[in-house]
């Protein structure tokens, strides 16, 4: 079994799907001759040529729209946003076109397209380059939304996203492209819409995804010293969300903390807390707590940024609180 970085796992997924299906192509800024801003697409131009690894000018609305039009006409585009911060200027395409055209045309047109790229804060990029779009895009009916945190999930979920007949938003992270992990040599797919228990435990459920996962796992290690055994559930797909797996865990632990790299107000974490509390009220021994970004634009300065982003220590405190453990 190979040990790959997330960027390599994503590249392997792209490569396998492009090899399998001539309709699949990659499009975005710097994906070809530059080999990808984060080197995800390294070597693909050489292998597949300029018609299938398409460098674009800086015009997100333009190339997102071209991807949508190509998908309607039978192709399977993978559109890379260098970061999802730049997808803001393509929101009309994502929300008015990608999310709606299958429904609006009453099924006459299909939109098998993936929009992928890094999402959330990286490191000291300030407020316009450190935003999380989890809630904004999960809010929209017609889209599917995936967020990956391991090389294994990155490969299996990207392959499924490319094969999915619907528009899929696929969130990665700048600071996690080098994260390494084992990836099977044989082909595999991970279905969209399935959460994954990344760490089994019996005392507190920690629900998370994307950049939240390493924080949650570190917090779970810290809590081990306090005698609290955390179960960490990686949501993986934000829409549709696998509430069954999350609920099964909460039914076991009766306590939940949601850890999210996103703003707290109207966030996916807020949705999760609301659903758990409404659907599992009788199961809960404590209110569901959330650890998210602070409700502020991301500052540049390193110390300030560190304060805004949830830390393992902050998450540990939340876990101790729902366990009514003395802090």
């Amino acid at each position: 079994m190979a040990v790959l970085q997330i960027r390599e796992a994503l590249r392997a997924a792209l490569d396998e799907e492009m090899e399998r299906d001539v309709r699949v192509f990659l499009m975005g800024e710097e994906v070809g001759h530059y080999d990808g801003a984060y080197k995800v697409s390294q070597g693909l131009l050489e292998k597949y040529g300029e018609m299938r690894v398409v460098d674009t000018p800086i015009c997100e609305a333009g190339f997102a729209g071209v991807g949508i039009g190509a998908a309607m006409a039978g192709l399977r585009p993978v559109v890379e946003f260098m970061t999802f911060n730049f997808s803001l200027v393509a929101f009309d395409q994502l929300i008015n076109n990608a999310a709606k055209l299958h429904h609006l045309s009453n099924g006459q047109f299909t939109l098998p397209i993936v929009f992928r790229g890094p999402n959330g804060a990286a490191h000291m990029l300030s407020s316009t380059h450190s935003q999380a779009f989890d809630a904004m895009l999960s809010h929209v009916p017609g889209l599917k939304v995936v967020s990956i945190a391991t090389p294994y999930d990155a490969k299996g979920l990207l392959k499924s996203a490319i094969r999915d007949p619907n528009p899929v938003i696929f969130f990665e992270s700048e600071v996690m492209y080098s994260v390494k992990g084992e990836v099977p040599d044989e082909p595999y797919l991970i279905p969209l819409g399935q959460a994954d228990v990344k760490r089994p435990g019996g005392d507190v459920t920690v629900v998370t995804w994307g950049q939240g996962l390493p924080i949650a796992l570190r917090a779970a290690e810290l809590c081990q010293a306090d005698g609290i055994d955390c179960e960490v559930v990686d949501v993986r797909t934000l829409r549709p969300m696998d509430l069954d797996t999350i609920y099964a865990s909460v039914r076991k632990t009766h306590r939940a903390v949601v850890v999210a790299h996103e703003w707290p107000t109207c966030g996916v974490s807020a949705q999760l807390a609301a659903r758990i509390q409404a659907d599992l009220l009788d199961e809960l021994d404590a209110p569901v707590l959330r650890e998210t970004y602070e409700d502020v634009n991301m500052p540049y300065a390193e110390n300030l940024e560190r304060l805004v982003i949830p830390s393992a220590e902050r998450v540990r405190d939340a876990i101790l609180r729902v366990a009514y453990h003395r802090i």
């Binding site: 674009t56 729209g65 299958h102 099924g107 047109f109 299909t110 299996g156 797919l189």
Partner: protein, 362 residues
Amino acid sequence: MSDPEGARPHAPPIPRTKEELLRLYREMLRIRRFEELAARAYTQGKISGFLHLYIGQEAIAVATKEVMRPGDRVVTTYRDHGFALALGSDPKACMAELFGKKTGLVGGKGGSMHFFDRSVGLWGGYAIVGGHVPVAAGHAFASKYLGDGAVTFCFMGEGALPIGATHEGFLLAGLWKLPVVYVIENNQYAMGTPLSRTSPVDDLTVRGPVYRFVTDRLVVRDVFEVREHLARAARRAREQQQPCLLELVTYRFRGHSMSDPAKYRTKDEVARWKAQDPLHRHEEELRTTFGVSEEALEALDDEVVEEMQAAVDFADASPPPDPEERFEHLYVEDPSAHPDLGPPPGDDIPAVTVRSFDPKGA
């Protein structure tokens, strides 16, 4: 303000036969009568929402149908009834869509602004100004990728030129030499705002060269002229992968939508354009040049009105969508129902699914 007489000298008239003129006149009349009946149904409360009429611009849609080949696409704005009818959509389904009925073109999900009829090459009525311009480039990109020889015709009002998506779509079409014909239907008013207040220049084709588009400009008076100019552009797109930008100067005789009394223009201006209405010009031509009798013209009109009244009756009698239909087609549930989603050739990777992966496990 463009002059209805046109800034350029009249070209010599394009030869035509009585039969051909009758055929195209009838197609234009079908659109006009359909919309007049739709407007009446709107005032009767049978149609709600927005209703943007194409009255005055019919020659453009009819000429487009003339130059299309099988597989070609039309992408247009929310002012889309004319294209659906010209391309061959069933007027009954069109009217039922306006009425919000189950039998509508898109099952009552879109209404006036969102006609889609893939069976006739209508790839959509889009209602966010300019947003369809890159999508049309994407259709053309697919044509180039697949080598299917199709041309995409993308229509927009002159009001779509200020917005960024239009520029970005133009740019990519020009950069990648996509087989697309962009047509500006310059009806002079973006809702209530005349072109002079949104564009520093009158001639909108001056934008073409920066995208390496071949450009062309015409005042719409004669459906045969429009056909000739569109055919030239389509030929360039199809045979030379040369995107074109065609400005068709026209006029809508109704307000922007049904709620607009169009107080921003003078009666005199409307009258001057009405004198150039292609439908009336061609009617007069049939009468004077080809000697078609009043009785024959009236009989033709009666037939068309009857067809469109039948569409109204059909729409009126149709049931509303079933409640569960609101969720239908939100997501593709069964890919096998969609020809576009077939498996790739030579698919030999088994769809192995693994629920979870434990790196420490066996």
